[in-house]
């Protein structure tokens, strides 16, 4: 426990957290306003245009029928990982440093999943029939095709969304209770409902502990399966460059990688603008940095494998695919990705960088830019270099697509901004657990009598 937290008392934690909820500065409202505006202008407006005009609004064509929408989908799903997943792993291996950051990490999972879901809506040609992909009894007596990787996705993501929602909620019940007592008006009523009448009796703590652990155990394999399945959307095709066994681990690692980087970014923001300097410390950045290095190495390794197998296969399809990726139309993006995801993270080998906040922010952002590029390349390069050379083409995203990418970022921000005002964005009771509990002996109260 770093020295600067020695002075902290239990009550300070409540004060800080409650302040972060109820005390809202002008900057917050400005930020929220901007975020909402950008969401409407850059996401919903282009989307409605596309709904009217058709996917033609995007840059897609034959052969590149998939585009940035799908890339964004994978990206957000990826970002969602390591929120809940990381928190679960750390919970089970009960590592102390998790406790200050896991709440916001889980929130990240939740919201990026929501954004990912909307990306699906944007992607499909007839979103107004999207519900046909859900298994529900209907007058057509038609059911979805459970043999389809896409349907695995539907199931997995629904489960993951439910799981993370429950996990984050259950973890914050005691905090709702704590906040409940300190708030008034509508907030009070809301927290009364959310806290389910939590009193913090030993029985409740005991049950919560059990349930929470079980959830954690369930969610870890779930999270792994989710991104494996997302990878199967591609790997189950026979498109050269996609049809690879390595894809599932590749995606999972990539997901956790970008997710962790995302956490770093969010940590930075929370620490800076929500006044959690005492709770989110060098320690967290240091540990996350180490984690990032490991992930970046694994990710690089898998990339190299991909190249090697492609080159070693010697088949025209695989080889052309590879050549195109490395030196073709999209080559600059590829090397940018390598730079951001394989080279830049190595900076974090130095402890000084790991423990200094701003560089970490930059690195984490770089990593996520790189990871988005990776997803884009996976979608773009493979489709335009398939089996029949006569069908080769190129794909360039349209303005609509780009603005929707920006818009989705804004949507995420909006959701997060709302979150920090409703959820205690650091866990009160777990912070307290990390602090030394009051010692036996005369308390101030007795002294005054």
């Amino acid at each position: 426990m770093p020295a600067d937290e020695q002075s902290l008392q239990f009550s300070d934690v409540n004060d800080d957290v409650v302040r972060s909820l109820v005390e809202t500065g002008r900057n917050y409202y400005i930020a929220l306003g901007v975020a909402i505006f950008v969401t409407l202008a850059c996401f919903f407006f282009p989307w409605f245009y596309q709904l009217r005009y058709g996917i033609a609004a995007a840059g897609n064509n034959h052969p590149a029928v998939w585009g940035t929408y799908l890339a964004s989908f994978i990206f957000w799903i990826g970002l969602s990982h390591s929120g809940t997943l990381l928190s679960c792993v750390l919970h089970i291996t009960n590592s102390e440093w998790r406790k200050a950051m896991y709440r916001s990490a889980e929130a990240m999972t939740l919201f990026s999943l929501l954004v990912a879901a909307t990306m699906v809506m944007v992607h499909v040609g007839r979103p107004w029939f999207i519900h046909w992909a859900a298994p529900y009894p209907n007058q057509m007596e038609l059911w979805p095709n459970f043999r389809s990787p896409l349907l695995f996705d539907v199931m997995a993501i629904t489960t993951y969304l439910t799981g993370s929602l429950i996990f984050i909620y259950m973890g914050s019940i005691p905090d709702f209770a704590a906040v409940r007592d300190r708030t008034t008006g509508w907030r009070h009523h809301m927290y009364v409902l959310l806290s389910l009448g939590w009193r913090g009796t030993d029985t409740e703590w005991h049950r919560l502990g059990w349930a929470y652990t079980f959830l954690a155990v369930l969610i870890i394999p779930l999270a792994v399966s989710v991104h494996s399945i997302v990878s199967w959307d591609f790997a189950m095709s026979i498109v050269p460059g996609l049809h690879q066994t390595i894809f599932a681990p590749y995606f999972v690692v990539g997901a956790i990688y970008s997710g962790t980087a995302g956490i770093v970014t969010v940590m930075f923001v929370l620490r800076k603008y929500m006044g959690f300097e005492h709770y989110i410390t060098k320690l967290h950045f240091d540990n996350l940095g180490k984690l990032l290095i490991v992930l970046s190495l694994i990710w690089t390794y898998i990339n190299v494998l991909e190249l090697f197998t492609g080159w070693y296969s010697g088949t025209s399809t695989e080889y052309e695919q590879l050549k195109y990726k490395l030196f073709g139309f999209y080559a600059p993006l590829y090397w940018e990705m390598i730079l951001f995801c394989s080279a830049v993270p190595l900076l974090m080998l130095s402890r000084r960088i790991r423990t200094s906040f701003f560089p970490m922010l930059l690195i984490s952002i770089a990593v996520n830019i790189g990871m988005y590029t990776e997803r884009f390349l996976i979608v773009a390069t493979t489709q335009v270099r398939q089996y029949l050379p006569d069908r080769w083409g190129t794909y360039v995203p349209s303005l609509v697509e780009i603005s929707i990418i920006v818009g989705s970022l804004a949507m995420f921000t909006t959701l997060f901004l709302l979150f920090v005002k409703i959820f205690p964005s650091v866990s009160i009771y777990e912070i307290k657990e990390t602090m030394d509990a009051p010692k036996k002996g005369k308390s101030e109260w007795q002294a005054t009598h």
Binding site: F146, R147, F152, E204, K432, E433, K440
Partner: protein, 171 residues
């Protein structure tokens, strides 16, 4: 008339100590309210068993079966031969049931938690807001004024900063 004795403590040790003494003194099982989970409660007040794990287990099993049945059943309901695969294709359906296992597992766990922890609370219960911040409370039901007296003395000697008498239906 029945009532509850509630002692507020400054630190977990003394709260636990008080709870132990009350138990030894033949009181009904005292309840401890704390801002953080206290370790060692079981040693003092005896082990607790939770039904949650069963919920999780059976939820999972049910989910697995339900998942496969859903996939296979609907496939048979409306025959759509695709890709030369069998109508009932094992590997994909296993994935479906895998996801369903986890989904139902999670939901069952939540259910188990709510039931075993008696949530949500319908009627008012004994509660002291301070325990949500940094105080540790021990409550014990007392059937008579006399027994309340005893409880109070035990609490005080254990180092309670404050002892309240609270009616059955809340303060």
């Amino acid at each position: 008339m029945a009532s509850n004795a509630l002692g507020l403590f400054h630190d977990p040790e003394s709260a636990l100590d008080a709870a132990g003494r009350l138990k030894d003194a033949g009181f009904a099982r005292p309840e401890i309210m704390s801002p953080i989970p206290i370790h060692g409660v079981e040693d003092v007040l005896g082990p607790k068993k939770s039904v949650i794990k069963r919920f999780t287990l059976f939820g999972g099993i049910f989910g697995g079966l339900a998942g496969f049945t859903l996939a296979a059943g609907t496939a048979v309901l409306y025959l759509h031969p695709t890709g030369g695969r069998p109508i009932i294709a094992i590997p994909p359906f296993l994935i479906i049931s895998y996801e369903m296992t986890i989904l139902c597992g999670i939901l069952a766990t939540v259910l188990g938690f709510l039931i075993s922890a008696r949530f949500p609370a319908i009627r008012e219960r004994i509660y002291v807001p301070a325990t949500a911040i940094d105080k540790f409370a021990v409550t014990v039901p007392c059937d008579s004024g006399e027994s309340y007296g005893r409880a109070e003395t035990i609490l005080r000697t254990a180092g309670a900063e404050e002892v309240q008498r609270i009616g059955e239906d809340g303060p």
